[in-house]
Amino acid sequence: MATATPLTLETLERDCRDHESSAHLHLRALLEEGLPLVAHPWQVLAEQCGLEEAEVMVCMQRWQEEGLIKRLGLVVRHRSLGIKANAMVVWNVPDQDVTRVGHTLAQETAVTLCYRRPRRLPEWPFNLFCMIHGVRRDQVLAQLEHIVQRHGLGGIEHQVLFSRHAYRQCGGRYALEETR
């Protein structure tokens, strides 16, 4: 009598790599192509990889709970909507304050990403990165100014790096949101 294996990320990933669950692997490959735009999408995926609809949905639920899948949504191509100003704002925050400032920035609606990263001294003292998107540069800078004023961040050294254009924009199998 086999005991049930506790569901952990490790076992789930092993399951998914297991020969017996090649159907789950197939499901993941299908999902990487995106979700079918049909009324009954999980059923379509289930038929394609030889699972029941309920199994597909349980799998999706698990992958979301385990953090394998962050979100089931859509990604907007900013530039197609005229959102051409993309600023990476980098901050040199004292280590003891970085968590607080990170949470503060992340709560701002203008901020689409907020990560702590290592400093690379002496050339690169910045340890907190956030992205702000907007239609025009002046609008992005005004939003940043509001954020600085509202939260009293004027004393924290920061720089704004605007992007010029992407040399390479892969569709990407993963949600490479680091620079979007």
Binding site: E32, L37, L72, G73, Y115, Q159, R164, H165, A175, T179
Partner: protein, 152 residues
């Protein structure tokens, strides 16, 4: 690329679905009801937005690290005269996923995405050899969760 004209319904759909689709057998009918549209109209509009390039992706956003892969943000300080040449060198690496020019001394920013975490330092070393430049490797230490939502 031309800026596309979106109508009120398109904007409502994009704003709603950036928060994700419900995990239900008929998810679109639920979202359509929220937005006061028919399911058919919602699907037609989504297909149009996808085909016209407004949406780059529709479906699950994976955590690359959780899939056992490596992911990092890296930068180079490239002399202006060498910029195109170095961009071409990076282009030959399948692990380089996005490459942006930014206005700073560190002017080339890109993401490295590899099948395994161990591969990241190897690719960094290969890039340094290929370009003769120091790679500033700045992996994510902590993510502060934002509501990934761009009002359109």
């Amino acid at each position: 690329m031309n800026t596309l004209e979106l109508d009120v319904e398109d904007r409502a759909i994009i704003n709603r679905l950036q928060d994700g689709l419900p995990l239900a057998p008929y998810p679109y009918v639920l979202v359509a009801a929220e937005l006061g549209l028919s399911e058919e109209e919602l699907l037609e509009r989504l297909a149009r937005l996808r085909d016209s390039g407004v949406l780059t992706r529709f479906g699950p956003m994976y955590h690359a690290e959780r899939l056992g892969g490596g992911l990092t943000l890296a930068a180079l300080a490239v002399p202006e005269a060498d910029y195109e040449r170095v961009a071409g060198i990076l282009d030959a690496f399948p692990e380089v996923a996005h490459n942006y020019r930014r206005e700073h001394r560190l002017n080339m920013w890109f993401v490295l995405a590899t099948e395994s975490a161990e591969r990241i330092p190897e690719v960094v070393a290969e890039l340094e050899t290929a370009t003769g430049l120091r790679v500033f490797n700045m992996p994510k230490e902590r993510e502060f969760h934002v509501r990934l939502h761009l009002p359109v």
